[in-house]
Symmetry: C2
Subunit: 444 residues, 2 copies
């Protein structure tokens, strides 16, 4: 009989496929990893023949192989409580970090149970007792503001029950913006709340989810940090994880494990995976307290985000009539088309009136930059000054997505006039007024 | 009397200001550079008193100071033709590279004449004879597709008149996307067409415009490259410029001089400013020919670009009903909200029908990623596969803005069915199928 990690040939009525046999949690499914790195699942009843082409090498010291072997042995182990260790709550929301292969499409869907996930990462048990709870089961693309309310209430509940820290597993697509939203919603937390994701699914050899999870747990148990942050790979190797600021992080690559980058600032800390040590890069961070968490989960639904691009039409602005807030992702220092002194371009005369009409209707418009790095400055060019005089608010160096959830949160909890004032004030590290970050830009 | 670069105190009825006296092209205006680096202009008639606080140092070898001193001497020199040198056409369109201080607002507006610009950069005269022409006078934010037609016709005309290369001065906000648009529009060019911009206006000490212009001219006269490219600072120092691929460049910082970064590829070449040498980093680039340029300037106006964000509404998709094409800037590998198996989220059931309805109406929808780096892949997750089955076309590793102008150009020149096929084919280096670029990502 073939064993997991053996190279096998598998025959069905339709096809013959070669690849590595993977451990499968579903006894009716045979799972094959192709050379491309992707997995295909087959119903056992469809498989006519399976032959071993090459036996697997004996287990090596490699992290991922080790994990694959433990998977099969430990899946059914019971979780036990060690009174000498602190307790971390792991809240699952879905995403790649909680995914295995989708047998419908050959792709990956969010469908691991919390117990299966814990079984995959047995290292966690030596760091802390793990309380895990499935809060949602969705790709982060489908998150809505009301899911943050659900999540915030769970966070509050687990902290009040004595968790020494919270880990939130989430899909990576919207992980950074979700972290920003939670940073505003959780107005005070006595313990760390760390979001982790995985750029590769947990049944792939190159999965980063396990190390991100373990580094988050190490960071929670070994540091005095309290606040919302993200824990993801620092680089393409399995040596370090970054602890990243919730409001100033961008997913800057669609697939790399080190896709998550701090913008206009440094990581808060680095977790060295091999030595299990923490190195802080930032000094002013919130620290643990003994009081209770404060959550303010209300968010205004009618807030929009509009990316400026070439050859726009004024209707793209007017669309947001009736919205309470709008984040514009402008070009450069924060610009839009409008009022060019060119008689051929009558259309440009319509942009500022469209903006003005939105502002007159009570919509708060905040300018950010699509450059990702750097700050908005509406004082440099006449274009910016024109926007200022229309009533557009400069969003300083806030990421567009961060400004978006901040404005929605402000409008959910404050009167519009106060929201207008607070949007340009640094509440959760989302605005870096020090401008130290000029040296943090990352060419090469 | 104070001279340019002297530190002065200036008094008006309203205020007293200290700063460096700047050379001014307008005899009625006194121009002061503040410690912040920004300039303020005063009408001479408003100035009550101007006193020298500190005389300027004698001219140093510093590039920018040298330029400031030459400015005053050479502004009125006549341009002469050197028969031993090749001829470069510089087409001005406006932007910071052609800007000085706006005395209306204290900001910067596009209002240098071509002659003034040439006078500012006398080094150009030793490289080539310069034919300069003012094509437009606008911020790049206000560019529309029809301006590219105007520009393309000027390019064609100057090449046919014997230019050894074309330099286009442009505002930086849309410079990268303008380069991409011109790369498609100019189907064939026998000579190089290099876009240059300036992140700091040319009357500021830290201006990069001059060096970018000079490096572009050096590159044109010293290399066999023919095609559309961008020439901007490689780093924050004044040592090198990058020659960047027209279809794979992103303005990744709102103010840094090295804001323009190659995405998923390397620069085409580096121009070493001090040694005036060219170092090619790419091997397969189009080279000079003796034939005529071919331009295809038609572009379809009704093409949109939609950035995916949290908590969207299906109406944001339906808005594009009637459009011929739509670029979606999806999350991660190319995702949108839709069809989450959550009864609380009825709204998610409406996203795919909205997309389907657009596609059924004949709108071509192409998926790109807001991660900037990396590629779209709709085969990994069930979400991607659902989008594929709706008829969404994966935009490979094209930048959203590049895909946007490519689709508009394809729909302006081909039937929809052909446009659909060509959008996923690499026409101008906009798709990097080699995936060598994994190593080009730029953390730190």
């Amino acid at each position: 009989m073939p064993n997991p990690s053996d190279k096998v040939q598998l025959k069905t009525k339709k096809e013959t496929i070669e690849g590595l046999l993977m451990p499968s949690f579903d006894k009716d499914i045979i799972l094959i990893k192709l050379d491309t790195g992707y997995n295909i699942g087959f119903n056992k009843k469809d498989v006519q023949k399976i032959t071993v082409i090459e036996k697997a090498n004996p287990p090596s010291k490699n992290l991922n192989q080790k994990k694959e072997h433990k998977e099969t042995k430990e899946t059914k182990q019971k979780i036990f409580h060690n009174p000498a260790l602190p307790t971390i709550s792991v809240l699952h929301t879905g995403g790649t970090i909680a995914s295995k292969v989708d047998y419908r499409t050959g792709g990956v869907v969010a469908n691991f149970s919390p117990e299966e996930l814990l079984a995959l990462y047995p290292e966690l048990k030596s760091i802390a007792n793990i309380n895990s709870e499935l809060v949602a089961k969705m790709w982060s693309d489908d998150l809505r503001f009301k899911h943050f309310e659900l999540l915030a209430k769970k966070i509050e509940q687990h902290i009040r029950s004595g968790a020494t820290g919270i880990i939130i597993g989430m899909g990576t697509d919207n992980l950074a913006v979700a972290a920003a939203a939670l940073a505003f919603i959780v107005e005070h937390t006595p313990v760390p709340i760390i979001l982790v994701g995985s750029q590769r699914s947990s049944d792939r050899g190159s999965s980063d989810g396990g190390m991100n999870l373990i580094c988050a747990a190490e960071f929670i148990t070994k540091s005095d940090f309290a606040g919302v942050a993200i824990c993801m790979h620092e680089n393409e190797n399995d040596n370090n994880c970054n602890i990243l600021p919730a409001t100033k992080t961008y997913k800057l690559h669609s697939s790399r494990r080190d896709a998550f980058q701090p913008i206009n600032t440094t990581p808060i800390a680095i977790v060295h995976y091999q030595t299990k040590t923490i190195q802080f890069l930032q000094k002013d961070y919130p620290t643990r307290t003994n009081d209770k968490p404060i959550i303010k989960p209300k968010m205004q639904e009618k807030v929009g985000l509009l990316k400026i691009h070439l050859n726009m039409f004024p209707e793209q602005f007017s669309f947001f009539q009736g919205y309470k807030g709008l984040i514009i992702e402008g070009t450069g220092l924060g610009h839009t088309p409008g009022q060019v002194p060119n008689p051929e371009c009558a259309i440009h005369k319509k942009f500022y009136p469209a903006l003005k009409s939105l502002i007159n209707s009570g919509c708060i418009i905040v300018m950010t930059t699509q450059c990702i790095y750097g700050t908005v400055n509406l004082n440099v060019y006449d274009k910016g000054r024109d926007l200022l005089s229309l009533g557009v608010i400069p969003g300083e160096d806030m990421l567009a997505n961060t400004a978006f959830v901040k404005l929605a949160w402000l409008l959910g909890n404050y009167k519009p006039l106060d929201a207008k004032k607070l949007i340009t004030q640094n509440l959760r590290g989302e605005i870096n007024t020090q401008h130290q970050y000029e040296s943090q830009f990352i060419p090469k």
